[in-house]
């Protein structure tokens, strides 16, 4: 059995861990509110963008000559996956969930003998993927230095993706991120952005006859690259809200567990203290009796 001193040290170390997790929980809660607000503020833009593109693509007459970003290259040999994770740890299953989802997809692609290319955004994703897929990772990005999620960063990722697409480096692009549902639930998402897959069915779109200036094709070819960045930006916002939410609940659990542990250790400490006292008493009494 551990000595009294050891137990005492153990208790104080668990207590200070508890202090840290508690503080982290508070910080995450504060940041979560901000991230959630940002995510909500950013939603109108991506929704409107999506609407316009849906309207446009439904009214496009000549599907053969549609921009490649919309209809794809006609092949699906090379896949590019953008895996978005956080830069910091201690956020529960946040990163592992994305990676798990991504790995499943990677395996499927590799089993079909297709080429896989990976861009990691956020250093945790890179750390987890580098062992198994080192040769597949073509770029790694991290926006550790930017304090807030901003469109500028998202645009950088978007530009990179588009540039690679124009050089025919891949056929299909998929992004992985966590969608924020609520503090305890974040759903890992897999979204194909090139070629664009509309989730709405054709007949759900109202048939609105728009006037276009300049013509549809030109608007579409200008708009699609922007949409890529917008989708990535949306994913980044969702991701940052999810990260904070996930961290908050993880730290909440950790604090609670630490509390339980302190209780258990305290009982053990008191028992062994009691045992030591009893032992000493017995020794004294039996010593006195033998005289």
């Amino acid at each position: 059995m551990a000595s009294l001193d050891d137990l005492k040290k153990r208790i104080s170390s668990v207590k200070s861990t508890q202090k840290i997790t508690k503080a982290m929980k508070m910080v995450a809660a504060a940041k979560l509110r901000r991230a959630q607000e940002n995510a909500e503020k950013g939603r109108p833009y991506s929704e409107k963008m999506n609407n316009i593109i849906l309207n446009l693509s439904s009214s496009i007459s000549d599907i053969e000559n549609a921009p490649k970003l919309l209809k794809g290259t006609g092949q699906d040999k090379t896949h590019l996956c953008v895996v978005m994770t956080s830069d910091r740890g201690l956020c529960g299953g946040f990163n592992s969930n994305i990676i798990k989802k991504a790995k499943l997809f990677f395996q499927k692609i590799l089993n079909e003998n297709k080429t896989l290319k990976i861009i990691t955004v956020g250093s945790k994703g890179y750390d987890q993927l580098k062992r198994q897929y080192k040769d597949n990772i073509v770029e790694r990005l991290s926006f550790k230095d930017s304090k807030n999620i901003n469109y500028f960063d998202a645009n950088k990722v978007g530009m990179m993706v588009i540039e690679k697409f124009e050089k025919d480096e891949f056929d299909i692009c998929t992004i992985f991120y966590n969608q924020f549902k609520n503090v305890i639930t974040q759903i890992p998402q897999q979204q194909q952005i090139i070629p664009l897959k509309s989730e709405t069915k054709k007949d759900e779109i109202e048939d609105e006859s728009y006037e276009f200036e300049p013509d549809e094709d030109e608007i579409l070819s200008n708009l699609l690259p922007k949409n890529i960045s917008t989708q990535i930006f949306k994913a980044m916002l969702e991701n940052s809200a999810s990260e904070q939410g996930s961290r908050m609940s993880a730290m909440d659990n950790a604090t609670r567990n630490a509390g339980e542990m302190v209780d258990k250790l305290t009982i053990e400490y008191n028992r062994s203290r009691q045992a030591a006292i009893t032992k000493e008493l017995i020794e004294i009494i039996s010593g006195a009796e033998s005289l």
């Binding site: 940002n38 503020k41 316009i52 901003n150 998202a154 006859s209 006037e211 276009f212 300049p214």
Partner: protein, 130 residues
Amino acid sequence: MSEEFKVEIVNPEQSFLSKEDAIEVVVPAFEGEMGILKDHIPIISFLKPGIIKVFRKTDEENYYVEDGILEFKDNNLSILTSTIFKVSDLDKNKIENLISESEKASQQENLDDQSKFLIDQKIEVLKTLN
């Protein structure tokens, strides 16, 4: 009959402006300036660098945009843009910064005609503001 319609300007980070009572909005569309009044037919168009003017009964506000796309439908005007400033918030320094940035960008080689045109346009607009 009221002549007012709703105008909303959003950038990726937030909803920048939302007014229920615009009377006329003048936008720098790609093929020239365009004024939009109530009951305009549905339109989708592009913006080039320029000034968006929002007229209301009582006042008039000017915004500087660098790019964007606009959609008008059912008397709702939505403008999506990545870069927007209120003109009255722009001071001399800021404008000069923007100009020198654009001038640097125009020095770049391998620019295609369209982006060059856009940058030139940007500089021109900024100079008129200055």
